[in-house]
Symmetry: C2
C-alpha cells in the first residue's frame, strides 16, 4: 500500500490554523480530522488536552509483531489500565476504526521511542522508523471521564493548579502475559468526599477511560508511601478535607514495556494523544 | 368505602404458612400478596428483611392532612433520605400503585404511634386509629441496594455480624418545609476500599433506595464524633482497612416528625416494612 494513499494531505480541504481548530466547538469528526491534519503537517506539537472537544483521545503503543500477541493478551487481562480501543494489522499504520485518515506515524504531536525497554528518543514523526512488522495499539485515556467530571461541576485540583496529574507505582500487580507484567500505575485525583462519590459514579460510565477507580482513601494500602512524591507527573494539589481517589493509569503499559524490554517500542508523548473521530461520550 | 372491600382476606386463596411464604423465591407480586395476607391475618410480626425476595419494600409515614402537604414538600426537597414511592388520598388506607390489595392499617408487621412528636405506642394494627384525614406516604428503603450489593458478592458487615445497621444524626441539615426539618440521619456500612467503590456505583442505580452515598471517609466531617456510638441501630462491625461509607437514611423523616410535633403520626416499626408488589430491581 502506497505511502501516498496513507498520507493523503492533498486530499484534505485547505489547511486550517491551529487557532481555528481549537475554536471549533462541535464534536463532529471533522474537528478531529482538521486537528490531525494540522499535527500531520507539523504545525501543532502541543498537548492535545482540550483540543477537538467531544472527540475521544487515545494512548498509543506500537510494538513489533513478535511481541504484539503477548501485549494484546496483557491488555485483555488488564482492561482497567489498558482499555483497548483498536489494534492495527501488522505493518499497517492506519486505524480506520478510529478515523478513516489516521496515520499513526504522523498524527500525534509527539512520540517516545524505546529500545530494549529504555527511552532513547523523542520525535514528532516516526515515518523513518516504520517497519512492516509493527502493530499499533490504541488504548483509552482519562480525558473522557475528566471531561464528564468537569461538566458535572466537579473541580479537578491538578487542572485548576495547572499541574499534570500525579501518578504512582503501586503494590498492586497487573496480570502478566508473556514478558509483559509488573505493577499497576495509578493516577490520583482528590476531592471533597461528596464529589469523590460523584466522581466514582461518573467515571464508572467510561470503561474505555479506565472506568471506576481502583482505590480510595489510605495511600499506604496500595503501597504508596508519600502522596507528595509521585513517580510520574506533578505533586498533587489537595484541599483540606479531600479524600484521595486512585484510577488505573495508562502509564501502566509503559512500565510493562520497561520490564519486557522489546527491541523497539513507540508510545505517545504523555499528554500528546491520538485524537480520534469517535465521540468522547458515545456508548462503546 | 366499606372496610370489607379494603380487607378482602376472604377473597384470597387459602392462607399460606409463613414458612411457605419465605420459601417462595419468585419475585412475582403474588409472593408479596401472600406475605401481606399473613401479616394482615396477624400470623406474622417479624422483620420483613429477606421476605418476599425481589419485591420492593418501603418505609411508611401516616400524617393528618393538615401537615401532609408540608411533609410532601419536605420529601420532595430531600429525595435522598425520603425517596417517595407513593402518596395516598386523604382517608384512603390503600396504596394501589404499590399493590392492589394493600391496606396500610394492617399490612405491616408493626407500627409506631407518635403523639406530638413523641412515640406513645407500638401496635400491629392501626384500624382503631384510622381517621378520614390521614394521608399515607410510602418511602423507599435501603433493602434494594443492599440486595444488589450482596448479589454482587460484597459483604455487609452488619448483616454478617447479625446486627442492625448503625445510624447517626449528622451535622448536615435537611432542606426544611413548613414545620419539617432538622438534621440528616445517615446509615453507615464499611467496606474494603475496592468494595466501597463498587458499593457506590451499585447503590447509585437505586435512587428510590437512597441512591449513592452522601459521604465517605472521615466521620467528623459530617459531625459524627464516634462511630462506635450510633444514635440508632447497633455499633458497627468494621474490618481492618475498611473505609466507612454513609448513606442518607429513612430514619430522617422520623427525626423531622419529632421536631414538627404533629398531633398524630404513625410510622412502621424499624425493619418491619411495607412489602409491595413492585420489583425491587425494576426501573422506576
Amino acid at each position: 500500500m502506497s505511502n501516498a494513499r496513507l498520507r493523503p494531505d492533498a486530499a484534505h480541504p485547505g489547511p486550517v490554523s491551529a487557532g481555528a481548530v481549537a475554536s471549533v466547538s462541535s464534536a463532529a469528526a471533522g474537528t478531529a480530522q482538521a486537528l490531525r491534519a494540522e499535527i500531520r503537517a507539523g504545525r501543532l506539537s502541543a498537548p492535545t488536552s482540550g483540543l477537538a472537544p467531544g472527540c475521544l483521545q487515545a494512548n498509543l503503543m506500537i510494538l513489533p509483531a513478535d511481541v504484539a500477541g503477548d501485549f494484546l493478551l496483557y491488555c485483555t487481562r488488564n482492561p482497567k489500565p489498558c482499555p483497548l480501543l483498536a489494534v492495527s494489522e501488522a505493518g499497517d499504520p492506519r486505524l480506520p476504526a478510529l478515523g478513516q485518515d489516521i496515520d499513526v506515524r504522523s498524527d500525534l504531536p509527539g512520540y517516545r521511542v524505546f529500545r530494549d525497554g529504555t527511552q532513547t528518543d523523542s520525535r514528532t514523526d516516526i515515518a523513518e522508523l516504520w517497519r512492516e512488522d509493527l502493530v499499533s495499539f490504541a488504548i483509552g485515556c482519562s480525558f473522557s471521564f475528566e471531561g464528564a467530571l468537569q461538566r458535572s461541576g466537579i473541580a479537578l485540583r491538578n487542572v485548576d493548579a495547572g499541574r499534570n496529574v500525579p501518578m504512582y507505582v503501586t503494590s498492586l500487580e497487573t496480570c502478566p502475559a508473556g514478558p509483559f507484567g509488573g505493577p499497576l500505575v495509578v493516577s490520583m485525583r482528590s476531592f471533597a468526599p461528596a464529589d469523590a462519590i460523584r466522581a466514582i459514579v461518573l467515571s464508572e460510565r467510561y470503561p474505555l477511560a479506565h472506568g471506576a477507580p481502583v482505590h480510595i482513601g489510605e495511600p499506604a494500602a496500595i503501597g504508596i508511601a508519600d502522596l507528595a512524591k509521585p513517580d510520574f507527573g506533578d505533586p498533587p494539589a489537595m484541599a483540606a478535607g479531600d479524600i484521595p481517589v486512585f484510577w488505573a493509569c495508562g502509564v501502566t503499559p509503559q512500565v510493562a514495556i520497561a520490564r519486557a524490554r522489546p527491541e523497539l517500542a513507540v508510545a505517545h508523548e504523555p499528554g500528546r494523544m491520538l485524537v480520534t473521530d469517535l465521540p468522547a461520550d458515545g456508548p462503546v
